[in-house]
Symmetry: C2
Subunit: 357 residues, 2 copies
């Protein structure tokens, strides 16, 4: 049986009743925390922290020592797979992620290996194993990856992008090459996420950060279909009395609110939604779980405004099971810590009335 | 009576029958044209070209000399109003627009003047008057402005932005100050657009380039409400036998596909939609005009792919009046000119069958 002390997050993902709405925050282990900045300045760079299981574990646990969060997410990056494929992920201060090598033609794609997660990504599995042990059942641990499309954007653009010109050129001029890359990524991600589950991840999240830049046709064929392919390969287990016997999967396409019905149709357990979506307009609440959707910038405001915005999200979701409260995107690095404290407290306090029947 | 030789664009905006779907392209007068680059290198900088009516006129007409476009759009910038308010618009090569001064508090906002369009923006009116004369009724001339919200983002961030942190801070912490700015901008834009109509603009477009970064609640109160306020102040004239007696207004919120019904409800004549929207799902086609929605990156592809993507957009719109073909955003600067030629020819040729009844 499960030894989980707080199973609200996993229960919500299965659309089961809970006493209040569980909450976690994307990038909750991050630079807005002084203790994170301190550890980071000692460790040196971001990748060292990801690749040193003791540090990744410590950072994962930091926000849980301060706040009553209902889930932990392993400290890592969405781009670990292309790094393990040999592209050389690095971060320059003040800029987004970059790759030493980028992908520009079919022969580049053919040469990419499918990483063995217990070899070149063992540091992630070790971090999960260690963190799971240290958590000792306090809250569930989330594992994750970027989506095939999102990984491909960084691999082809060589880093962050504004207009995604290179990958879109490939999409419209050499779609077969791009499909070959996405296929390879989907297989790699499925192996990687299954290894995370094996190592102890209790829920999986796929971040499709850049799916929203696609046309409605291309989103289906170049992003969603590959996420669905991963879903079909994941060893999710079976639902039972023991809530932890099943690994729920959340798909989050930033900017994908307009395609929500199609995302729901993949058979995922939960959809992540950004702040452009009005939760009251989601028709399948209670059948599928929904994660979101506060604008992270609300956390710049005074307490009263934070509280009224939390209340608005809860009201829009209403009296249904299956809500996981979160920001619609990662927390900004200059958010005051006390505002986060207030957010989490407000979600718990204000959501209680939605869970009485 | 109208002396317009090609009125397809204006007819489509009034949802009247046409013989084929009219087409124009956002940023059709721009850097992908060798003759534009030549003129620009002589003129020096972008703002000199905007502010010299003879140059603005020449650039406006350049794409019409090459292609069978169904409309001209005056060569200008969405940020002329904040420039006329004294913020000092400039462009650094390879980067987006920037302002010498930016807005950070209520006293900055209070000090902003409402520009008299025939004074500090007279160069735009002169360019419109000259271009209208030179066009000599060949196609209609479009006038435009950025939306209040979009102008405010540049004014507060000081230029382009990724996360819109400063303006979002103001939105959630000092909403009254932001409303005061938006009110001032809405009044300035209404004056400006009415002056453009007076000078000869035959259709108006409001570009809400950054409305899509707002939450669904904030989009209404901080962007759409102000666009509606402008709409109510515009001197659109009356529909009559003379198609040019009425000035149709198109609202385009990039990334606003999820809020399309709300945009339509403002009473605008047309909505612009980016490539995330499936035109077959717009329920009010034929009652409201729709402009869009090809992904501009399609123009990187070979001719056959351009053609199949044009066909897909036309099919999704189907057998309704009211379609203006366009890209879902501005044309990229490195698009081959012959691909544009092919696009426009393909729209005209392939759309004919949708206009037989």
């Amino acid at each position: 049986m499960s030894q989980l002390k707080n199973d609200r997050y996993l229960r919500a993902l299965q659309c089961l009743p809970v006493d209040y709405t569980p909450v976690w925050m994307m990038r909750q282990a991050g630079r807005y925390l002084p203790e994170y900045r301190q550890l980071r300045s000692k460790a040196g760079d971001f990748m060292t922290m990801c690749q040193t299981p003791e540090l990744a574990c410590e950072v994962t646990l930091q926000p849980l020592q301060r706040f009553e969060l209902d889930a932990a997410i392993i400290f890592s990056d969405i781009l670990t797979i292309p790094d393990a494929m040999g592209l050389g992920l690095y971060f320059e201060s003040g800029e987004g992620p970059k790759f030493k090598k980028s992908i520009s033609c079919i022969s580049d794609i053919e040469q990419l290996p499918i990483p063995d997660p217990e070899q070149s990504l063992k540091y992630v599995m070790d971090a999960i194993r260690l963190t799971k042990k240290e958590l000792n059942g306090k809250v569930p641990l989330i594992g994750f990856s970027g989506s095939p499309w999102t990984l491909a954007t960084y691999m082809i653009e060589g880093g962050s992008s504004k207009a995604f010109t290179k990958i879109k050129k490939m999409l419209y001029s050499e779609p077969k090459a791009l499909h070959q890359l996405l296929e390879k990524l989907a297989n790699s991600i499925a192996l990687y996420l299954n290894a995370q589950i094996q190592a102890g991840a209790q829920s999986i999240m796929i971040f499709d950060t850049w799916g929203g830049v696609l046309s409605h046709q291309s989103y289906q064929t170049f992003s969603l279909d590959y996420m669905q392919q991963i879903l079909s390969q994941l060893k999710q287990g079976k639902k039972s009395q023991d809530i932890t016997s099943y690994i729920p999967v959340t798909l989050f396409t930033k900017g994908g609110g307009i395609w929500l019905d199609r995302i729901i149709n993949t058979g995922c357990d939960a959809v992540g939604v950004d702040w452009t979506v009005n939760l009251s307009q989601i028709t399948q609440k209670g059948k599928i779980a929904v994660q979101g959707n506060l604008d992270p910038s609300v956390l710049y405001a005074r307490k009263q405004t934070i509280e009224s915005n939390v209340e608005a999200v809860l009201n829009e979701y209403g009296y249904h099971n299956g809500h996981v409260f979160n920001l619609g995107h990662g927390i900004h690095q200059d958010i005051p810590v006390e505002n986060v404290q207030h957010l989490i407290e407000a979600v718990h306090r204000l959501s209680k009335r939605f869970h009485h029947d």
